[in-house]
Amino acid sequence: MPFPHDPILHALVLGVVLCSALLGVTSYFIWFERKFAGRMQGRVGPKHVGWEGLLQPIADAFKLLLKEDIVPRAADKPLFHLAPLLAVVVALMGVAVVPLASGLVIADLDVGVLFFLAAGAMTVLPTWMAGWASNNKYALIGGMRAVAQSVAYGVPMVFGALVPVIFAGSMNLSEIVAAQAGGHWFLWWPPGPGLLAAGIFLMASLAEGNRIPFDIPEAESELVSGVSTEYTGMKFGMFYLAEYVHSLVGSALFATLFLGGHDGPGPDLLALQVVWFALKTMAVATFILWIRWTFVRLRSDQLMTLCWKWLLPAGLVVLMVAAVWARFVPGRTA
């Protein structure tokens, strides 16, 4: 650990540095998404602000900051102002327990997975706050959908995340990474349950992050802009930012749980570990983008059917198989 003697100082310094870095990475992730989507659709994406549009995120942020901040007269003001702020904070919380390299983690909690899932489940709070406080029918419907969706998909997400926990015998993310050392990633080892759990986890985290095909709380073709309908300027920008941070942190957790985190070939250097971790996270994030720009949206009741009738039973079965495997098959599992 960089600051072995003072855990609070360690968490503070690393937390500020990592969160700032993550926000920067996120704005360039948005640039990357726009480029990526442009290529998929036969366009070029941002091109004119800076070389290949690299200054576009900065220009966008300035534009959002300079916009008029409109608050509906009938809005519930405190909640209305608090919701976008809380959205970003809650989205950033998950990063606290994800190890970027061995020892490079803000808080090396023994219940890291639990903390992350709890933080993920909290994202519904600002969404519902915004939906309620806006005093707008579209926002209210969006908020209602968000609550239903988040409550439903939290369950299969837990099942998906528990499979690596069973194999590693720990909820500490650093130990889960250590258990996958040497390329024995839980995605394919042990064969079967890991892959299924990864699929369930990915789908559930897409739903929690409100990404297509599960973005029904926003559903701009139906609900105008869902919960963020009444938000303008930087407040809207913060919801946008929170969504992307959530997506990136979710990808980071996926990489940690199923792709061995910072484990990779090469010398055991801190910098190389960070590179491996970043590469895996970006691979997962790009996969999510690929899904996003290919699929159309599910209907809200079909979304619920998918969760309760398919993902939940499948998650239970995978969890049972994993438990039996961990108990009776000798090998690298705890």
Binding site: G42, K137, S221, R292, F295, V296, R299
Partner: protein
């Protein structure tokens, strides 16, 4: 409440059947909701109401109890305008009716005037009319597919990808029209007695090129949509129109053909050059959103075939059937009336003109297929949820410029 039947759910095998219909005249006071009813005004400013349609929805939770469409937000008084303009001046006005299919609007109006006057259109001009009408049909269906995918997949997602692909191909057709007429959207290509521009050199080869490229790419859209389980789940069995209702409401075009009725004016009363070419009417069973999608995609292929076949056999001769007009007031059709209906991309587009012998029509009436399609909404929407409202509305392919005139 038993009048309101849920529209979603499993679909039985195709065949003659009477679907349970919702009651569009439901007295909202008599309805007992679980909680409070929410009245949602969807539109006229809404991303998915295809312009300025306003839907008043009574919602019980997310389920629609009653739906009333309000039209007229794009009313520009076109029919009155036609009474105020001479026969020569009116063609570009109707361009703006169905603004994604200007060519067919012009044809419908010009044919009504020609019938009134008794003007003969030369064979070459009739061929040209048919070719541009079919190309326009492809462009219009591409735009429909694009916006329909947008309705399904959102402005930031897979829907946008299909949207971009369709617009890329539609652009090719607009380029062809630009080369032919000088305009990309409102052409003023047709006039009473024929067409205004002859084919530029090499245009026929480019039509073949464009047709080949679009034909090559239609399977790509099908891969993204019709082979996607989510798309099928969203469209199959949704917004089913039974044959009886479709006929009662005067539906036409792909909306009617998706109910299994081979009603196609190009075949039933051939006009322009349709009597010289075989038109295969595309129908589908089911009357649901998926059937309407299938009909339109298949029609694109069929239209491209017709256009390329006709351009190969384009006869020589004049493109105008009468002498150039000296002054606008010189055209005075005899007193009488004429009704002409053609198959626009959206269905039966009719024009009814009454002449009193003066240089201006006494009355002109346009029968827009979109208006009739929208009248199905109060029957289709109750029992569905908001996402289906958007999908059903999009599948009817309404153009508000035409419905409101």
């Amino acid at each position: 409440m038993e009048m309101i039947a849920p529209q979603h759910g499993s679909v039985s095998a195709a065949g003659p059947r009477v679907l349970p219909r919702a009651n569009p005249y439901l007295d909202i006071e008599s309805y007992e909701a679980e909680g409070d009813l929410m009245v949602l005004n969807m539109g006229p400013q809404h991303p998915s109401t295809h312009g300025v349609l306003r839907l008043k929805l009574w919602l019980d939770g997310e389920e629609v109890v009653k739906a009333v469409p309000y039209l007229g937000y794009l009313h520009r008084g076109v029919e009155k305008l036609l009474e105020k303009l001479t026969y020569v001046m009116s063609t570009p006005i109707v361009d703006k009716n169905d603004y994604v299919s200007s060519m067919t609007n012009e044809i419908a109006l010009c044919m009504a005037f020609e019938k009134l006057e008794g003007t003969e259109v030369p064979r070459r001009a009739r061929y040209m009319r048919t070719i541009v009408a079919e190309l326009q049909r492809v462009a219009s269906h591409l735009l429909w597919l694009a916006t329909f995918a947008l309705d399904m997949g959102g402005a930031l997602g897979g829907g946008t990808s299909v949207f971009m692909y369709c617009f890329r191909e539609r652009e090719l057709i607009l380029d062809l029209f630009e080369e032919l007429t000088g305009a990309r959207f409102h052409y003023h290509y047709h006039q009473v007695g024929g067409v205004r521009h002859d084919v530029p050199t090499g245009w026929d080869a480019r039509v073949h090129e464009v047709a080949a490229r679009i034909l090559e790419r239609i399977p790509e859209y099908e891969q993204m949509l019709a082979e996607n389980p989510i798309f099928l789940k969203r469209t199959r069995g949704i917004g089913r129109i039974d044959v009886g209702l479709a006929q009662e409401l005067g539906l036409s075009g792909p909306n009617l053909r998706a109910c299994g009725i081979p009603f196609d004016l190009r075949v039933l009363q051939p006009y322009a050059a349709y009597d010289e070419i075989e038109v295969r009417t595309v129908t589908a069973e089911g009357g649901d959103v998926l059937a309407r999608y299938r009909v339109r995609v298949q029609e694109m292929r069929e239209s491209l075939r017709i256009a390329t076949t006709l351009i190969d056999g384009l006869p020589g001769g004049p493109i105008m059937g009468r002498k150039p007009i000296e002054t606008p007031n010189a055209v005075r059709p005899p007193a009488g009336e004429a009704y002409v209906a053609i198959e626009s991309p959206r269905g039966e587009l009719g024009t009814w003109v009454i002449s009193d012998g003066s240089p201006k029509p006494y009355r002109a009436k346009i029968r827009p297929p979109s208006f009739h399609a929208l009248s199905a909404l109060p029957w289709l929407l109750p029992g569905t949820t908001i996402p289906d409202v958007i999908v059903i509305l999009g599948s009817l392919d309404p153009i508000m410029g035409e419905a409101d005139r």
